[in-house]
């Protein structure tokens, strides 16, 4: 007897449908799995056989051939256990065939027949939604109960949570009714993220706070340079508290990546706070941008729609820093391997922190720097010009004055107030870019503008033009730096609710390039 069950798996961060065909014929007792299974899939027969027996069904060894189509994509993971088990039982006429074509079935089996949760459920659910909307016969998905909340975020598909093999079979045989699992999006989003940290805990550094507010409002990249102990890391950790909450589309995109990487918290169906990724400086370039034989997303993709914080920037491997160039420019990474070429989204806000020199006190008014000029130059040269050019805001975080250190009153603004301004500025940007799609991807912030959009939305008046000309001549800024200044100026104008960029916005934006001078 032949039976056909539909399942799904993930390639990169996109789901695809796999047809599991099971043929049982008389002959030598053999169980063979074909269709490019990896170890976890070919080992699944042991789990499947034990699970069937331990669920109270009679399993007789026969000649069983399992085919996973399409045959040319390598199948990974334990998600095929349940469809194979159901395929065998339906080939033996224990499971009825009617419902099999209506549901995508996935799940990893334990030896006792219970189901274990899987990675990458969200991308699969989104693929099923696409299938349904293209007038397909598919209605929903049968999956382990532990994954139901993740899948149910996608509306329009029936999510059938099952806890074990027996339950799945009873459902397919119409012996029990399982209500489709539902979650309300409003509930997920109303759970406002409460942070334990706040911006007003950082003493002084009002200039830096203002710059970070601008950076958050427009999604600009920031580099903070300053001596040790001035609050660079402290500031960076608090950036998520002033970023606006994720929109639903952004949340889906980010959750998709975290779902594939298996980093989704167990009780959460969607990431409602922006990711803050702070990899250690020993990170390899593969871990940073993604890769592997079957490419997996790296830190830049995990930081999608959030923050990638690189502390001690010059300590990173040079090649690891250079691979950042492409994602910083195009907001995605394209990973090519012999087996496949994949594109991962990587629209992150880069926040870097570094000392001005190896000892850390160059240019500080607190302590004298004991590095010689050659060492300082070498330290600075570790960060290449092209990388620095892609960072919109260069920020000096100076040592605190004694009066600021000893002042115990939190006089600074709290995160909530700053966040409101940021949200407002982002609203203006969302409205502006409502109908704009660059290379098939929606854009949300000023930092994502390409040069065409910059020409359109960053028109300057005569005073501003004169100002920026002088700045370019005096500071020796590159053409790219010019674009960056315009983008930052646009964001400052948005924060102040102005429709046009004015000269004070330009002059503030130019301030955030002055480290160009410092480096050269």
């Amino acid at each position: 007897m032949l039976s056909k069950v539909y399942s799904a798996s993930v390639i990169g961060i996109e789901g695809y449908i796999v047809t599991v065909e099971v043929d049982i014929s008389p002959g030598m007792p053999v169980f063979s799995t074909v269709g490019l299974p990896d170890r976890a899939v070919s080992e699944s027969k042991e789990r499947v056989i034990s699970a069937i027996r331990n669920s109270g069904f009679d399993y007789q060894h026969k000649k069983i051939t399992v085919n996973l189509a399409p045959a040319d994509i390598k199948k990974e993971g334990g998600g095929f256990d349940l469809p194979i088990a159901i395929g065998i039982l339906s080939a033996e006429n224990i499971v009825k065939h009617e419902l099999l074509s209506k549901y995508i079935i996935i799940g990893e089996l334990a030896l006792d027949g219970t189901l274990r949760e899987l990675k990458g459920i969200l991308p699969i659910s989104l693929t099923i939604k696409k299938l349904i909307s293209s007038k397909n016969y598919v209605e929903g998905i049968i999956l382990p109960a532990a994954n139901a909340y993740e899948s149910a975020v996608v509306d329009g598909i029936k999510v059938i949570p099952v806890t074990n093999l027996k339950e799945a079979i009873m459902f397919l045989n119409n012996e029990i009714v399982i209500e489709p699992y539902k979650v309300s999006k409003e509930n997920i989003f109303s759970e406002q993220s409460e942070y334990e940290i706040d911006f007003n805990e950082v003493k002084g550094q009002e200039f830096a706070k203002r710059a970070l507010e601008i950076a958050c409002a427009g999604g600009h990249n920031v580099i903070m340079i300053g001596p040790p102990g001035t609050g660079k890391s402290m500031l960076a950790k608090r950036i998520p508290t002033i970023l606006p909450p994720l929109t639903f589309e952004e949340a889906l995109e980010t959750t998709k990546i975290h779902s594939v990487a298996g980093l989704l918290p167990k009780t959460k169906s969607l990431l409602i706070t922006r990711p803050f990724r702070a990899p250690h400086h020993t990170i390899s370039n593969i871990a940073l941008i993604g890769g592997g034989v079957y490419p997996k997303p790296g830190e830049v993709s995990l930081a999608h729609n959030g923050i990638l914080f690189l502390d001690e920037l010059p300590e990173f491997h040079r090649d690891a820093l250079e691979v950042l160039r492409q994602p910083l420019e195009t907001h995605e990474v394209c990973i090519s391997r012999a087996n496949s070429t994949l594109t991962f989204p990587a629209n992150f806000m880069l926040v870097a922190a570094m000392n001005p020199c190896p000892c850390g006190y160059y240019g500080s008014n607190v302590r004298e720097c004991n590095c010689n000029p050659f060492v300082i130059q070498k330290y600075m040269n570790k960060i290449s010009g092209p990388l620095l050019d892609r960072i919109d805001i260069h920020l000096e975080v100076p040592s605190l004055k004694v009066s600021e250190i000893t002042d115990d009153n939190n006089t600074g603004e709290n995160s909530k107030t700053i966040r409101e301004r940021v949200i407002n500025a982002r609203k203006i940007q969302l409205e502006r870019f409502k109908n704009i799609i660059i290379q098939g991807r929606k854009i949300y912030t000023n930092s994502q503008m390409n040069s065409k959009l910059i020409r359109k939305y960053c028109k300057l008046n005569d005073t501003s033009k004169k100002l920026i000309k002088t700045a370019i001549e005096r500071l020796g800024l590159s053409a790219r730096a010019y674009d960056r200044i315009l983008k930052v100026a646009r964001t400052i104008a948005d924060i102040e609710n102005k429709t046009d960029i004015e000269s004070q916005h330009i002059s503030e934006a130019i301030q955030y390039r002055t480290i160009d001078r410092f480096v050269h």
Binding site: P26, G27, M28, P29, V30, Q60, H61
Partner: protein
Amino acid sequence: MDTINNKYNLGKSGEDIAVSFLIKSGYHIIDRNVHIKKYGEIDIICENNKDIVFVEVKRRSDYSFGLPQDAVNHKKQKQLIKLALLYIKMKNIKNKNIRFDVVALSPSGCELIKNAFIADKFYTY
């Protein structure tokens, strides 16, 4: 010489015990001690629930060398699968399920292990 003869008789009588046990369990005996040149011998071939069953009989008079069923190891399984394939070809058996059972005879009694192993690792067309 005496001991070898003893061993042979022990095995031979063990097979007789196994046959009567199988008949009692509802098996229909088709063939016994099928010898195929170069490859070896199949102890018992029988039919049960329309399946062709190849039975290997193992007997231990005590446990000093472990359980009898443990003696049907990787090597023995490989040999039995080869023999089974040859037998199927010789007799031109088609559209039947094939099964490998083991009858383990030990001082504590007689045990029938159905579906003792499958042909996965060794089977090629």
